[in-house]
Structure formats: structure tokens, C-alpha cells
């Protein structure tokens, strides 16, 4: 079966070479010490930084997609999402439903507030919703629950689980916590260190 995402011999100035297969609905958990190149690898996959190697989505090479289409299909949630307008709502082409907001523990009025007035946890969850509006086939999540309490961490995990099982979204999850890794039932664990290797 063709994997949802295939990464082969991917390397950049600060990481790699790295390779893995991600099946539809699968999850690769990436861990490693700070500076191992986890975020750099995600930026390279999404084609935000130049890199060498092969990246395929459903068997089709990355370079055959126009860059903006690729970044819609393979969505990256950075560890520190950025905002370019004052109001949260202005970052959405289509406003998220109350149901979608509630699934992440957010009130609808949060959209009308200035971004500067939101907590880091609210910003992180809104950034995830903003990304999901594109209906990506693969999600690259860089420590998506780093600023969240236990209840909201579970909400994010459940939402991602639902996207995997119901829509076949493939997920690459960068994290540090072993208990979270176990809850997510990854298909594969990728350890990034000075020498990058794949485990399990």
C-alpha cells in the first residue's frame, strides 16, 4: 500500500539524513534533545527550508505540487505559531464552527479578541484550528501541547485521534513526554540525536 507520507534520505544543514514511512491514519512520534533538528526536519518536509532528499505524499513527489498547495496538504503547526493581524478571527479564511472551538475547550468569543490578549495555550489551540481549516492530509505538529494544561492536552490528543481514524490524516508529532507518546499509540518512534536513527 502506498504510504500517506514517505520521507527518504532527507537532510538539511542541521539534521539528517532521516527517513520514515507514515501510513494513512498513522502517527510517527519524534523525540530527541533540544538542537537535534526536530523542528528543522519539519520545516524541511513542509518545504519552508531548502533540503535534499525525497518527500512523497500518497506516492507523488513534493516538487510536483505548487508550493502553496503542498503546504495546504502537508500542514505544519510550529512550536511558536505567528500571527499577522490584530484580531484572532482575521487569521481564518473560514470561521471555525462553535463545535470545532468547543472540541478544543475554546469559547466562540475568543475569535473576536486581539491576539495579544490571548494566553499562549489559547493561541496554540487556535493555531491548530487555523491549520485544520485547510483539511491537510498530513499534520506536522511541533510540541502542540507544550503550553496546555492536562485537560486541554487531552482535548488536542482526542481531536488528532479522531482526524486519524475518521479522515486518515497522517501525523508527525514532535514531543518529549513518554506518557503522551504511549497515549498516542505511534506506529513508529523516530529518535533524533547527533546520529539520527529510526527505532521500532
Amino acid at each position: 500500500m502506498i504510504p500517506r507520507l514517505e520521507v527518504r534520505d532527507l537532510r538539511g544543514p542541521y539534521f539528517g539524513p532521516v527517513g520514515f514511512l507514515l501510513p494513512a491514519g498513522g502517527l510517527v512520534f519524534v523525540r530527541g534533545p533540544s538542537g537535534a533538528g526536530k523542528s528543522r526536519m519539519l520545516r524541511a518536509i513542509v518545504d519552508l527550508d531548502p533540503s535534499e532528499g525525497v518527500v512523497l505524499l500518497d506516492g507523488r513527489p513534493r516538487e510536483s505540487f505548487p508550493p502553496h498547495v503542498w503546504r495546504r496538504l502537508v500542514g505544519l503547526l510550529p512550536a511558536e505559531p505567528q500571527w499577522w493581524a490584530d484580531r484572532a478571527a482575521d487569521h481564518f479564511d473560514r470561521q471555525p464552527s462553535g463545535e470545532a472551538l468547543a472540541a478544543l475547550g475554546l469559547e466562540p468569543e475568543v475569535l473576536q479578541r486581539p491576539v495579544a490578549g490571548l494566553s499562549s495555550g489559547e493561541r496554540q489551540r487556535l493555531a491548530l484550528l487555523r491549520l485544520l481549516a485547510n483539511r491537510p492530509r498530513v499534520l506536522l505538529l511541533d510540541e502542540p501541547t507544550a503550553n496546555l494544561d492536562a485537560a486541554n492536552t487531552r482535548r488536542v490528543e482526542q481531536l488528532i485521534e479522531a482526524l486519524r481514524t475518521k479522515q486518515g490524516v497522517g501525523v508527525v508529532w514532535v514531543g518529549h513526554q513518554t506518557d503522551q507518546m504511549e497515549r498516542l499509540h505511534p506506529d513508529r518512534v523516530l529518535e533524533l540525536a547527533a546520529a539520527t536513527r529510526s527505532v521500532a
Binding site: 527550508d49 516538487e63 508550493p67 502553496h68 485547510n134
Partner: protein, 251 residues
């Protein structure tokens, strides 16, 4: 007499320790030498009135203006682009507007008559140079400061053009603002230099006004198109063929 006034001012600023007296004297000396030199060159070019000489002079003016645009930017593009961007933008706008004015509006015989072509190009090019330098400087400075915001838009599937749109608008506004201000206050707060010169030289005020309006419109058009070309092209150069923001292309 006028030189004595500048000398007097330099002496005063030296006494007050403002720290500009030396720079002022050097600048005054440069003005005198440069204008004397250009007067001598103009006399020669006017006497020759050959297209080759006019073209050579115009090209020299353009190349010097290109260097000036480069020097005024805090974060210039590396390599040839740094010089080429500003110079080509100015060439496209200033030369087309000047050619249009000569061929359609003023219609001297021959159309490249240096008495018309050189001063006209000088005025349009000088102002376009300011506009292009300001527009490019704003574009590249904002790109450095807002790199994270630009990349956030790319990550959400926006094209490079969409992600850099606001920066281009800011660059355009900054480049055009001096000319808009100059047009808004012309004749009320200040009398434009060319018009003042004509009146002092004994020409009728209404004739001077007519030419001044024409010149200001030409300058604004030249500046506007120059800024437009430079921010459009500069905006493209910030990204590579895969629409990745490449700030390392800037110094």
C-alpha cells in the same frame, strides 16, 4: 556672498559644538565643484547635441543614481540584485516618463535635444531615486522584522505574493509619500525649485507655474512606477522558486 553665509553658519555651529561644521563645509565644497563640473559637461553636451552624448550622459546619471539607491538601504540584496533592482526600476520608470514627455508633450526638435532631455531626466530621475530607495528600504526592513509572520502565512497555504502583499503596499506608500506631500503643499508652504528658478531668471510666473505642474505630475508618475517596479520585483526576490522566504539574500 552666499558662500560667506555658509561659512558664517559653519563657524557658528563649530562654536556651539554641534559637530556638523566640517561635514557642512565639505558638502558645500562638493556642491560647488559638482555643479561647476556638470555645468561644464552640459555646455559640452549642449554644443554637441548628438544622441550618443545625450545617451551617455543619461546612462551615467542612471548608474550614479543606482549606486545611491544601494547606499541608502540598510538591508540590501546581495550580489548583482542589490544594484540591478534599483537601477532597472529607475530605468523603466524615469526613462519611459521622460521619453513620453519629450515625444508627446514638449516635442522639441530633435526630440532628444539635450536642453530639454537632460534637465527633465535629471528632475524625474532624482525624485524617482528617492522613491525607489525609500520603497526598497521599507520592503526589506519589514521583511526582516516580519519574517515569522510571512512564514506563518506560507504555512497556511498562501502564495508568496499573498504573504508579501502588505509589505509591498507599505513600500509603495513610503516611496510615494514625499511626492504626495510635495504636491499637497506646493505653492502654499514652499515654491518648487524649478519654478523659483524660472521666476528669478525673469520668466512670467504663469509660464513657470504651467511647467512646474507638468514637471510635478511627471515626477510623481516616474516615482510611482519606479516604486511599483522595485517593490514588485524586490518582493519576488525575497523568495526562491519554491516560495521559501530567503532572508539570506539580504545583507
Amino acid at each position: 556672498m552666499a558662500a560667506c553665509l555658509v561659512l558664517g553658519l559653519a563657524g557658528l555651529t563649530w562654536r556651539l559644538r554641534v559637530g556638523t561644521s566640517r561635514a557642512m563645509l565639505v558638502a558645500a565644497l562638493r556642491t560647488t565643484l559638482q555643479l561647476l563640473l556638470v555645468g561644464w559637461v552640459l555646455r559640452f553636451v549642449f554644443a554637441q547635441a548628438r544622441p550618443l552624448w545625450v545617451g551617455g550622459m543619461a546612462l551615467t546619471m542612471l548608474l550614479v543614481a543606482g549606486h545611491e539607491v544601494l547606499a541608502r538601504q540598510r538591508h540590501r540584496f546581495r550580489g548583482w540584485w542589490g544594484y540591478g533592482l534599483g537601477t532597472v526600476s529607475m530605468f523603466v520608470s524615469s526613462f519611459s516618463v521622460t521619453a513620453l514627455a519629450l515625444l508627446v508633450l514638449l516635442m522639441p526638435q530633435p526630440w532628444y535635444d539635450p536642453r530639454y532631455a537632460i534637465p527633465l531626466l535629471g528632475m524625474i530621475l532624482g525624485n524617482t531615486m528617492n522613491g525607489v530607495a525609500l520603497a526598497l528600504d521599507r520592503l526589506t526592513t519589514e521583511a526582516r522584522q516580519r519574517a515569522g509572520q510571512i512564514e506563518a502565512q506560507l504555512l497556511l497555504g498562501r502564495t508568496a505574493g499573498e504573504a508579501v502583499r502588505e509589505l509591498r503596499v507599505l513600500g509603495m506608500r513610503t516611496g510615494l509619500m514625499p511626492m504626495i506631500n510635495a504636491m499637497a503643499t506646493a505653492g502654499i508652504v514652499s515654491l518648487p525649485g524649478m519654478m523659483t528658478g524660472q521666476i528669478l531668471a525673469g520668466n512670467p510666473p504663469m509660464e513657470a507655474v504651467k511647467y512646474q505642474i507638468l514637471i510635478m505630475f511627471l515626477i510623481t508618475t516616474g516615482t510611482g512606477f519606479g516604486a511599483l517596479v522595485s517593490v514588485w520585483w524586490g518582493g519576488r526576490q525575497l523568495f526562491d522558486e519554491r516560495e521559501r522566504l530567503r532572508l539570506e539574500r539580504l545583507t
